[in-house]
């Protein structure tokens, strides 16, 4: 192989390798872009609420709708206590979501939020949400899960209605099996003690 050809081939090989890496780099880049712009309806992580910082804007009244759905083969019952609420921007509000595991197995679920319209996503702040963690539900267990949020007053003026949708996924098979085994053991212990309660409304500390 002549020197000039070897040089060309090396350069082209490096380009190919670089583009392979670029393909993988698209993942963090995509997440970064969605975080910055709020595209895709992705909401941020836990929001620290400081009452002194946020002044409710009493002049505006927004409608916030809640949608719940279960993904694919997820059999849990999942609903929100209210279909929607009216809030002022900057006002802290709590809404309860109820989930029930109707099967006779311990299962793990994960809720994924999405906000529509997309440009409202970056102004939708949650101080507390069940979507920040996984839910482990015993057989037949019902759980009430509070979600506390506020809509930033800097929300664009032309947004009057926001829809928050939760998709609930069954992640029993992908979750750390140690967690699942511990939960199952707890469930068996509980049933051997002949616990009377079928459903145990559990309110997560809030």
């Amino acid at each position: 192989m002549q020197g000039s050809i070897r040089k060309t081939v090396t350069r082209l090989g490096l380009i190919a390798l670089g583009m392979f890496c670029f393909g993988w780099a698209l993942i963090p880049l995509y997440d970064l872009l969605c975080d910055i712009t709020g595209l895709n309806g992705k909401t941020g992580g836990q929001y620290t609420y400081d009452a002194a910082m946020v002044q409710p804007d009493k002049s505006r009244l927004l409608k916030v709708n809640f949608l719940t759905n279960t993904n694919g083969g997820m059999v849990w019952e999942f609903r929100s206590e209210k279909g929607g609420v009216r809030v002022h921007p900057g006002e802290l509000k709590t809404v309860n979501f109820i989930v029930r595991n109707p099967t006779d197995k311990v299962m793990v679920g994960q809720a994924i939020p999405s906000v529509s319209p997309g440009r409202a996503a970056e102004h939708f702040h949650k101080t507390e949400c069940f979507c920040f963690e996984q839910q482990v539900l015993q057989p037949g267990e019902e759980l009430m899960m509070p979600m506390r949020f506020l809509v930033g007053p800097e929300l664009p003026k032309n947004v009057e209605t926001i829809s928050l949708s939760y998709a609930l996924f069954d992640i029993t098979d992908t979750v750390d099996q140690g967690v699942l085994a511990a939960a199952t053991a707890a469930s068996q212990k509980a049933s051997s003690l002949e616990q009377t309660k079928e459903t145990k409304p559990l309110v997560v500390e809030g």
Binding site: Q2, S4, T8, V9, F22, W24, S116, T174
Partner: protein
């Protein structure tokens, strides 16, 4: 050659280099660009027939509403594999085969820059496609998620055989990348003295740019299928929302590959047509420089328009506007090309041999496909057209009478140079007219059924679409069986036929027409002199 060498061991080695080896070993171990080009072309023709049979299964099922012949699960496998095989098995290898045959001869080079890698990049392909086709016979069936293999259809809901599909895609990608490196290395380093870049035939130019596109996007596809593999087997969540991933991201990554990919399948066609039209119009190509710049512009734009395939995923207005306008902007360099081809024919003394007929049909029908593409680029209109037969009609117009017609035109045009015999001109013309009528009868009605709302990839449909589908299916059978005539014509020309002259066509210019027909096994072992008369014009 070899029977006289007994006792002359000394000369044995020399003799070996003068002609091809005998038997199967010639094809297995060959490093000759002409042999490898031939292998690529026959392989792609075999894939074309297999993919064509799948298309006919689809059209048979869609001949009438209701489910008649295949169950929906198998129908999905047919649409998926038809797409994958035609894109990766038929169109792309055919262009690589033409590149192997023509680029060294057009540049005055003795062979490709990396002959052994050339052998490897071809011989990967039969294994890749053998692996992919074998999945059709596995339990649970083959790929059934569409050629775009969107997650989670191709991850969570995929048949078990998807892993074989992933490895097959890896192998095709490796083959394409090696082929592209070879082509770029040849064009950059092996040109005959005096063959400057702006004297190169446009086929070399378009392939040079195509090869860069391939090197840029094939690794991204390899990354995407690797992520799928991880999601399926190693518990990652690149494309699964439950684990914090995003299925929409799959579409972004796929189309970042996919849009340049569709230009990979058309740029070499531009090069072929730019060689054929001047030959039969007996005029130099109009606007050579602008052709080069237009090709480069199209290649650049192909990287910034991908999201027009996914307007309906929910994108901010600014994004929709950006992708709409950038997509429409591609019509400018493409329009320059169409204008140049028409201007080349203007006042030329044209004759209409088979390659020219296919080339003219290319210009007309590809432009129609381009116009339906412009309609699809209009974001609000795309909400109606998305995933309907209008899209099917659009991309088949650019791929069948576009890319495929250019390949057929190239075969008729250069076949006399390859095998030394002329093909049967009347049969060639018959093949053209059957194909031309067949392709339009097949795909033109699909515009109407699509605008009326018939969705893609569905084995059954509402009664209102029955007439359009029946016409479409009849056209498909006409088109499909006409290609057997093509095979007959090619084989007949290889076996017998009027001997071709070196120049073959009266108006042909370029280095490949200065050597005898059939082209000797080794050409340009001493570099030719490049004069104005044997350069591109």
């Amino acid at each position: 050659m070899s029977e006289v060498v007994v006792g002359h061991d000394h000369h044995d080695d020399d003799d070996h280099h003068h002609g091809p080896a005998k038997g199967i070993a010639r094809w297995l171990f060959t490093t000759n660009h002409k042999d490898i080009g031939t292998l690529y072309l026959w392989f792609s023709f075999a894939m074309f027939l297999i993919g064509g049979c799948m298309a006919l299964v689809i059209r048979t099922e869609l001949f009438e509403p209701g489910l008649q012949f295949v169950d929906p699960e198998f129908f999905n496998q047919m649409t998926t594999n038809h797409g994958l095989i035609m894109v990766f098995g038929a169109i792309m290898p055919a262009f690589v085969g033409l590149a192997n045959w023509l680029i060294p001869m057009q540049l005055g080079a003795p062979d490709m820059a990396l002959p052994r890698m050339n052998n490897l990049s071809f011989w990967i392909l039969p294994f890749a496609f053998g692996l992919m086709l074998s999945t059709l016979f596995m339990e649970g069936g083959g790929p059934n998620f569409g050629w775009t293999f969107y997650a989670p259809l191709s991850t969570t809901y995929a048949p078990d055989s998807v892993t074989f599909f992933i490895f097959a895609v890896h192998m095709m990608g490796a083959s394409s990348i090696m082929g592209s490196i070879n082509i770029i290395a040849t064009i950059l380093n092996m040109r005959a003295p005096g063959m400057t870049f702006m004297k190169m035939p446009l086929f070399c130019w378009t392939w040079l740019i195509t090869a860069y596109l391939l090197i840029a996007v094939m690794p991204v596809l390899a990354g995407a299928v690797t992520m799928m593999l991880f999601d399926i087997h190693f518990g990652t969540s690149f494309f699964s929302a439950a684990g914090g991933g995003d299925p929409v991201m799959f579409q972004h990554i796929f189309w970042f590959f996919g849009h340049p990919e569709v230009y990979i399948m058309i740029l070499p066609a531009f090069g072929i047509v730019s060689a054929i039209i001047p030959t039969f119009a007996r005029k130099p190509l109009f606007g050579y420089d602008s052709m080069v710049y237009a090709t480069a512009s199209i290649a650049f734009l192909s990287f910034i328009v991908w999201a027009h395939h996914m307007f309906t995923v929910g994108m901010p207005l600014a994004g929709q506007l950006f992708f709409m306008y950038s997509t429409m902007f591609i019509a400018v360099p493409t329009g320059v090309k169409v204008f140049n081809w028409v201007a080349t024919m203007w006042q030329g003394s044209m004759t209409f041999e088979t390659p020219m007929l296919f080339a003219i049909a290319f210009v007309v029908l590809f432009t129609m496909g381009g116009f339906s593409g412009l309609m699809l680029a209009i974001t609000p209109a795309d909400y109606q057209y998305h995933d309907t037969y209008f899209v099917v009609a659009h991309f088949h117009y650019v791929l069948v009478p576009g890319a495929l017609f250019s390949i057929i035109a190239a075969v008729y045009f250069w076949l006399p140079k390859w095998c030394g015999n002329m093909y049967d001109e009347s049969l060639g013309k018959l093949h053209f007219w059957l194909s031309f009528v067949g392709v339009n009868v097949t795909f033109f009605p699909q515009h109407f059924s699509g605008l009326a709302g018939m969705p893609r990839r569905i084995p059954d449909y509402a009664l209102q679409f029955a007439d359009f589908n029946m016409i479409s299916s009849m056209g498909a059978f006409l088109f499909g069986f006409s290609q057997l005539l093509f095979m007959y014509i090619v084989i007949k020309a290889i076996r017998s036929g009027k001997p071709a002259t070196g120049q073959v066509w009266e108006g042909a210019h370029g280095l490949e027409w200065t050597i005898p027909s059939p082209a000797p096994y080794h050409t340009f072992t001493t570099p030719p002199v490049v004069s104005d008369s044997n350069a591109h014009n």
